[in-house]
Amino acid sequence: MSTLVKTEDEAMLADSARGFLDDAAPVRALRDLRDSGRAYDPALWKRICDMGWAGVLIPEEAGGVDMGHAAAGMLAHEMGRTLASTPFLSSAVIAVTILRRIGGERAKSAMAAIASGELTYALAIDEAHKFAPEATTMSAERQGNGFRLSGDKCFVVDGGFADRLLVLARTESGLTLFELPSDRTGITRTAQDMIDSRDAARIAFEDVEATGDDVLGQVGDAMTILKPALEAGQAALAAEMSGLAAGAFDMTLGYLKERKQFGQPIGSFQALQHRAAHLWCEIEVTASAILNAGRVLDGNPDEATLAVSLAKARATSTAQLAVMEGVQMHGGIGMTDEYDMGFYMKRARVSAEWLGDYGYHAEQVAALRGI
């Protein structure tokens, strides 16, 4: 019976991830990317793939290590802690969850290519300013044996560099998921200059031809395979946000101990002690929801909605509290670009919106709890 405690293997994975990221991808690395006008570091991703992280959800016969969603969450947590900018969620979590459900030789070789870092994926769902997959309007019209896709997607995270796109569109018979190379004729990608300095793109589809082979799962039945993948992504994103909150909190706690005012460390003031302790409590409570989501996804994936939405809702509010308190307790220096807190604040805001905000997920919880 799985418990809400890290297994030894999970603890070792998380420890080694922490060691690696502190060295190879500290917040400084994100700052350097931003300052050099880039949003993604392929060399870092390659090193991460070499360590097997991209294969955390991939079966062994397809070149993965198959450790499960709880373990994937632990990797995401560590990446969130240092704000590492990688396609882990899009490729190793969301795309892999879809490919695993599809199965077959083609999916197997695609997973192997993800594990090795040869291929990256991005998920193109959003069309308006809020996450609403069921409201997708992008059209996929029947044309002979295939389809013709037209419409615009926005906030496609990792969409600027991904080799392949997972695109949700509406056919006559309902929502359908397509897998397309990102350089197919008719696809135009425009970088969105996001506040968190990570990659995101607007993607225009103009009469893009797709064949039956490009359809993942059944035509008109995208949600059957997409829903579990979205939930896997939401859980991992929640875990990443918990890492982000922990990273911001560590900075704040360090500052409370070191910064002196009125001749004393400011961390000795009760007003600040209580705020810091409250924030720690929120982080600790959220950690339980996140580990639970991973365990449920591993043990009972078809009934994971409550656990996942609980995790994403809690992670969203906790990360936002952590960065707001972080800036406040740092005082003016927290507002400067020179200081890293701003990076945490911006990532928290972007992550809050990606794959459903607090309201979206709290509403899912409410629906399942009869409120």
Binding site: M1, T3, L4, V5, L253, L256, K257, Q264, P265, G267, S268, F269, Q270, Q273, H274, A276, A277, H278, W280, C281, E284, V285, T286, A287, S288, A289, L291, N292, L306, L310, A313, R314, A362, E363, V365, A366, R369, G370, I371
Partner: protein, 392 residues
């Protein structure tokens, strides 16, 4: 860790045991004051079913599932206990017995008691024969527990105890009290305290209820006037009672914290909201938004209690971090009852109105963040001992 198979078999065993032994009347969700059995010499069973349920559960060790069988428990692992509780919840079964003996004194005895003490006291607690209360707080002390003034003078074969305790929950119904008593005045305040077990029937012990804003009261004042306490009734070492008290407090915090999660008291908030469906308050967007946020927090807090128990089971004790459970759980409970009052509107404002005594429950919760150490004290414990922030 146990295999899935043996747990599956255990689940089946518990399911059929409950089916056979838990009386139908003990399976309804309505929890009133006398619905849950607290045991003790003066307990009046509210029904024959309640008596039977206690008798059968205690005979099987299931009033204290985790305790060793030699002390009246069932010797279950944490995983097995979880299965048992899930099966109880599945049929909406009431706990057969609840008491401070089970939740607080028992764990402390298991940790600090002598084998003789354990053999004597623990089975009586498990069978609900003796009801205990806690003598910690004193007038003027508040959360500053270590400022204990009640004196215990060494008289050779016994201590002579004099002083007063306050906020002694259910002291008027209790048979025995576990109390902190100052046995040395000449050392720093944490060092001169002993942990004594005192029979409330002994000459010199008197108790008086304190009426609260909720009308009724679980709280009392207890007075000790030249009470003779035999030397064998000390738990732990003389003058080291603070260690026992601290250990016990972590259990108390855990117990109080579960109040607001819906894990112990059913799904009050969701149920109230569901009942209101179609009524104006159910459509009030402000109320609904607050209820949803409360539900999200309650579920996550409930999982945290589970996680901390899992960690304790895995030998990764959380120590002072348990102050988090107390703080978060009780603040949540207050929010939850505030929302229930809003949802029920004027129906909830009568002492015994159309929706029962919601007002008394709501008033009672206001003490949650005071009793067992205030929320502010919990935050200070976390800041200093968990986060390592400096003292002022």
């Amino acid at each position: 860790m146990q295999g899935e198979d043996s747990l599956k078999a255990f689940r089946a065993e518990m399911r059929s045991w409950l089916e056979e032994n838990c009386p139908q009347q003990m399976r309804d969700g309505r929890i009133t004051d006398d619905a849950i059995c607290w045991g003790g010499k003066n307990w009046t069973f509210s029904s024959e079913s309640q008596r039977l349920w206690l008798e059968r559960a205690s005979a099987r060790g299931l009033t204290v599932p985790r305790w060793p069988t030699e002390y009246g428990g069932a010797g279950l692992s944490r995983a097995e206990e979880k299965v048992f509780l899930e099966e109880m919840e599945r049929i909406n079964a009431r706990p057969p017995l609840k008491s401070f003996g089970i939740s607080m004194l028992g764990p402390a005895l298991l940790q600090f008691g002598t084998p003789e003490q354990n053999r004597h006291y623990l089975p009586q607690i498990a069978r609900g024969e003796i009801r205990w209360c806690q003598g910690y707080s004193e007038p003027g002390a508040g959360s500053d527990l270590a400022s204990v003034q009640t004196r215990g003078e060494d008289k050779g074969d016994h201590w002579l105890v004099n002083g007063q305790k306050i906020w002694t929950s259910y002291a008027d119904k209790a048979d025995w009290i576990f109390a902190l008593v100052r046995t040395d005045r000449d050392v720093p305040k944490h060092k001169g305290i002993s942990f004594l077990l005192i029979d409330m029937g002994d000459p010199g012990v008197t108790t008086r209820p304190i009426r609260l804003i909720s009308g009724a009261s679980p709280f009392c004042e207890t007075f000790f006037d030249n009470v003779k306490v035999p030397k064998g009734q000390i738990v732990g070492e003389e003058n080291r009672g603070w260690d026992v008290a601290k250990y016990l407090l972590t259990h108390e915090r855990e117990m109080i914290s579960s109040g607001g999660t819906g894990l112990s008291g059913g799904r009050a908030l969701g149920a109230v909201m569901a009942q209101m469906a179609g009524e104006p308050s159910a459509q009030d967007p402000t109320l609904r938004a607050a209820a949803i946020r409360c539900e999200v927090d309650a579920l996550a807090t409930g999982l945290t209690i589970e996680r901390y128990k899992d960690m304790a089971e895995a030998g990764k004790g959380v120590g002072n971090a348990s102050a988090m459970l107390k703080y978060m759980g009780t603040e949540l409970n207050k929010r939850r009852h505030e929302l229930i009052m809003s949802a029920c509107g004027s129906d909830a404002l009568e002492w015994d109105g159309p929706v029962g005594n919601r007002a008394a429950d709501w008033l009672r919760t206001k003490a949650n963040s005071i009793e067992g150490g205030t929320s502010e004290v919990m935050l200070t414990i976390l800041a200093r001992r968990v986060l390592g922030l400096p003292g002022s």
